[in-house]
Symmetry: C2
Subunit: 203 residues, 2 copies
């Protein structure tokens, strides 16, 4: 889905969405110029990005804010909901589940996996925790396509392998290590320390 | 520091670093072609990015791996160490502290701040937890310039305002909301749900 939009543009859509949602509720219209100014971007780029969605701006007034939000959400949700699992039911996994916000994008986090016998069979933020060794059977039953990896670095690759073998199509990796996956699986790495280092280099 | 490198290139440096560190320890040389292939990037771009660092490749053999790692670390560390604080000593903050990896980039997380009386005065992963109301005094004493915000959305902006008023120059924001800061403060937002939504749109 949404294959026609460049990844770099796709990654900007949530930024627009966050900005629009942070505006006062009673604001009815929003122009690409206003968005561009607030986010320190070029107006042409903003208009081009938003044109990938179904939203249509009107001359002079811009977009109806609620319509633009709906169009962005629609686009990012691929017009349907998707199930996700968490690998690693530790502090980070728990925090990610608690922070939520997934529902806004049509993502249901349906279960967590762990290798710790004390956690398996229990629950984390209301979601069942299964044995990572049962990933294949469980993920098929849960119809999950997305996974968030929050296990320690040394387990990240083997966990990723198990998830991919279970049919997971996209992985968000928080483990501080690069993981490899087949070409048909999308992987994104969020390295907290590296992100902070980049910021540090900018000041 | 490092003002001459475009932000987009800067953000790729940790990716190279992670890849290089994931290679077998006994590998001595690495070429830009190999890096480009492994990371599915153009070789010219890789060479251009690495040229911002002090590393120099040799014809045919490429870079000495250990030198390239050192050059990337040097570059990202701004040739010195920087102190960081955590705002929000809850699950996410704790997990971020535990995951570590900051030291690799010359970043010392020196303290956490919270508004919960039960947490203030205690410690999280060995770091003291201070009252967010004392941020100004503490941050000056700690000589901290970086901050990671892991507080619930509704507190993120007021916490950011306090950090900025205390002299923080760069903020990594995990709260699921956009925060505003003066132009001289660098802010980066990591929205977990949005990142997963982007991946979801790509499959």
């Amino acid at each position: 889905m949404n294959k026609d939009i460049p990844v770099i543009a796709l990654q900007r859509l949530p930024v627009y969405l966050n900005y629009l949602k942070s505006m006062p509720a009673d604001r009815m219209y929003v122009s690409s110029g206003l968005i561009a100014e607030a986010l320190e971007m070029g107006e042409v780029l903003v208009r081009k990005d938003l044109a990938y969605t179904s939203a249509t701006g009107k001359p002079r007034v811009g977009y109806i804010k609620s319509e633009l939000i709906a169009a962005l959400e629609d686009f990012l949700c691929c017009n349907g909901s998707r199930n996700a699992v968490l690998a690693g039911a530790g502090g980070l996994g728990k925090a990610i589940l608690s922070y939520g916000g997934f529902k806004n994008y049509g993502i249901n986090v349906v279960a967590a996996f762990d290798n710790n016998p004390e956690k398996i069979g229990g629950s984390v933020v209301g979601k069942p925790v299964y044995d990572i060794e049962d990933a294949q059977e469980k993920i098929a039953n849960l119809n999950a396509e997305l996974a968030v990896i929050c296990v320690p670095a040394q387990f990240a690759q083997s966990v990723a392998d198990k998830l991919v073998a279970s049919g997971i199509k996209a992985i968000l990796n928080f483990a501080p290590v690069m993981i490899k996956a087949p070409q048909n699986v999308v992987v994104r790495h969020i390295d907290v320390a590296a992100n902070l280092a980049v910021l540090s280099s900018m000041i």
